[in-house]
């Protein structure tokens, strides 16, 4: 019984992380903050994925472990790819925001939207 409560608590905490990321995306006025919120949301989703496939007592999928007591290895492969893609998007977005700052001297979404041409 305590483990199930713990499991639920964990899932709720992770959902809270994801939700806070989305709330940040919908409220952050600064480009850098938006990029950070994007990363927070992504990390939350990765945590959700890993915590959902985990069962108590299972070992990490590293080879000497017998396959019966391993957790499902597929999600880990997927998660690594997701992290790589997230890093690519983050670096590209940061690079663009540096250029934008050089160009306009501001990183505020509202001010940038109001600029002409």
């Amino acid at each position: 019984m305590p483990t199930t409560i713990l499991n639920h608590l964990e899932t709720f905490l992770i959902l809270a992380i994801i939700l806070s990321g989305f709330v940040g995306l919908a409220t952050a006025k600064n480009i850098i903050r938006s990029i950070i919120c994007l990363n927070i949301t992504q990390t939350g989703i990765i945590l959700l994925f890993l915590s959902l496939v985990y069962e108590p007592g299972m070992l990490p999928p590293v080879l000497p472990t017998p396959t019966q007591s391993m957790v499902d290895p597929t999600p880990e492969a997927l998660v690594i790819t997701t992290i790589v893609i997230g890093a690519a998007i983050t670096s590209l977005a940061l690079m663009m925001s540096i250029k934008i700052f050089h160009h306009y001297g501001t990183l505020d979404w509202k001010e940038l939207a109001d600029r002409e041409g």
């Binding site: 994801i18 989305f22 995306l25 919908a26 409220t27 952050a28 006025k29 480009i31 938006s34 990029i35 994007l38 949301t41 992504q42 989703i45 959700l48 994925f49 959902l52 496939v53 597929t74 999600p75 997927l78 790819t81 997701t82 893609i85 690519a88 998007i89 590209l92 977005a93 663009m96 925001s97 250029k99 934008i100 160009h103 306009y104 979404w109 509202k110 940038l112 939207a113 109001d114 600029r115 041409g117």
Partner: protein
């Protein structure tokens, strides 16, 4: 058997890398060799298609359960053909401008490989990967000019689309937990036997909401006009003609994944709202490329109305309109690119006398305009015929559909002011009269001519194209008096309304107010969350 599809993905990518490393102008010609090889591969695919049809090809010796699988069916076959054709047009257009620029060609070819991959891939995670790579590459191509405006719109595009893909990731986690597989076919099979539960609905909502960002449906469409308006002309044509349809393709696939009718009606109405709002924004624009970009949004709305009703006649109407739209919108964007190059301005009010200066280009632009308005004998007619025939039994939707059509015709009447010579009082830039007619020799506008011909061909050869997409294509009568009368009445009404309102000062302040609506990123994110919430409420 799997060699051909794999080659189609990796050949452009490898030759892109080769072009980038060599950095010599002779190596840049490899673009044409690659395109030629891809076209031959496509012919080969058609030849072996009867064997290949809807068969899962797993890479390596993995099982279907855990391997990466490719699958080619009618839909992906038609999309692959369209993609290779569009890349031909864009490369032909961009070659004189970028033939020394190996970086541009690198990104262009790399994008082709990933897009072809998206069309063939058959598992949930690879689709996520491909869509994200396409987002990254097209964001780089949008900011290619590195001026302030394109940088802003490129960042906007990148942020909104990666935000959308996050919910795809969540939906796909739920599908994986429910079915224990990533393979599209196996997941479809296992989902169809599960009882309809809140988690299936949650997965469906999250996945289709993410695709609705990618394909520019109603509340989150404003990235499209910025990105397509600020990119170089060849990239605008590619984005508007093809890459947006990548989102619609993923939408169709997601509908197939959940196999039972889930929320088709919701998306039908969303399509209607998208079409109406796209028309309103397009009418108010003064920038020639922004106008074309917003008109893309309204046409996407019409396509969504069709493809949301899967396995009905109207679905094929939306699908065929999708293919036709690629042809004429690329034609219009490439033409607009040539005009902007010569006139050095993007404002509709500054471009005049196109008909005198560019007679041949004007003819192709006219073909594009008539096609998008759904004129008889042009290819937009076919999709709009099916849509209006299917909607005829529902008066409310039928009249709203005609309102969209009226708005489209008014938009292009406003667009057509560029063809005429200016009045005495206004003095916009005009090309030298001695140069009239010399700037559009056929060799200068080859892609526009090919696209114009294919627009005309697609009208009469549509049954051939229809067979390529699906065998049971609904009948379309090219000679239908009712449709002709409808179209002519709409044109007359549009002419009167345009004369009365658009070309006078009566509603200038309203149009100005609409044009000045500038939505910052966080409001779009907010509206995305609202879209998710409204889908949840609808599913309840």
């Amino acid at each position: 058997m799997i060699t051909y599809p794999l080659l189609m993905v990796f050949l452009p990518i490898i030759s892109a890398i080769f072009i980038y490393i060599m950095g010599k102008s002779w190596a840049n010609r490899l673009v044409f060799a690659t395109q030629l090889a891809l076209s031959l591969l496509y012919l080969q695919l058609i030849a072996i298609f009867p064997v290949l049809n809807s068969k899962s090809l797993v890479i390596g010796d993995w099982t279907l359960q855990s391997g990466i699988a490719l699958k080619i069916d009618n839909l992906s076959m038609a999309f692959i053909g369209l993609a290779i054709f569009m890349w031909w047009m864009v490369i032909l257009y961009a070659w004189p401008i970028y033939k020394k620029d190996n970086k541009f060609l690198f990104f262009l070819l790399f994008l082709e490989g990933t897009f072809l991959g998206l069309l063939m891939v058959n598992d949930l995670f690879s689709m996520f990967v491909f869509i994200d790579i396409i987002t990254i590459l097209s964001a780089i191509l949008v900011v290619y000019k590195k001026d302030g405006w394109s940088l802003r719109s490129g960042l906007y595009y990148l942020m909104i689309n990666s935000m959308g893909m996050l919910t795809y990731l969540m939906g796909f986690v739920i599908v994986y937990m429910l079915t224990g597989t990533l393979n599209w076919d196996l997941a479809t099979e296992r989902l169809s036997v599960l009882p309809l539960s809140p988690s299936i609905y949650a997965a469906y909502i999250l996945m289709s909401a993410s695709v609705s960002v990618k394909a520019a449906f109603f509340p989150t469409f404003n990235w499209l006009s910025r990105a397509h308006g600020s990119a170089p002309a060849s990239i605008s044509a590619l984005l508007s003609g093809l890459l947006v349809k990548g989102g619609l393709y993923a939408f169709i696939r997601i509908q197939e994944l959940f196999s039972r009718p889930m929320m088709g009606d919701f998306f039908f109405h969303l399509g209607l709202i998208t079409a109406l709002s796209g028309v309103i924004f397009a009418l108010s624009q003064k920038d020639i490329k922004q106008m074309l970009a917003f008109s893309t949004i309204s046409q996407i709305g019409l396509m969504l109305m069709g493809i949301s009703q899967i396995q009905t006649n109207i679905y094929y109407g939306g699908l065929i309109h999708l293919f036709n739209h690629a042809l004429f919108k690329a034609l219009l964007f490439l033409g607009a690119g040539i005009l902007i190059n010569h006139y050095k301005t993007r404002r509709l009010t500054q471009i005049r006398g196109v008909f005198q200066a560019f007679p041949l280009l004007s003819v192709t632009l006219f073909i594009g305009m008539l096609s998008i308005t759904g004129a008889p004998f042009f290819n937009g007619y076919i999709g709009k015929y099916i849509l209006s025939t299917e909607l005829a039994s529902k008066p409310l939707y039928f009249s709203l559909y005609h309102l969209v059509n009226l708005g489209t015709i008014m938009t292009y009447m406003k667009f057509s002011q560029i063809f005429f010579l200016p009045n005495e009082e206004s003095k916009p830039f005009l090309p030298d009269p001695k140069q009239w007619g010399k700037m559009d020799r056929p060799r200068h506008i080859i892609p526009s001519l090919i696209l114009a011909f294919s627009c005309l061909f697609a009208t009469f050869g549509f049954s051939f194209l229809g067979n390529l997409v699906q065998a049971d294509f609904p009948t379309v009568r090219l000679f239908s008096a009712t449709k002709y009368v409808h179209w002519s009445l709409t044109v007359i009404l549009a002419y009167i309304l345009t004369k009365a309102f658009i070309f006078t000062d009566r509603i200038t302040h309203i149009l100005h107010a609409i044009r000045e609506v500038k939505i910052p990123f966080y409001h779009t994110a907010y509206m995305f969350i609202l879209l998710l919430a409204s889908m949840l409420v609808f599913a309840w």
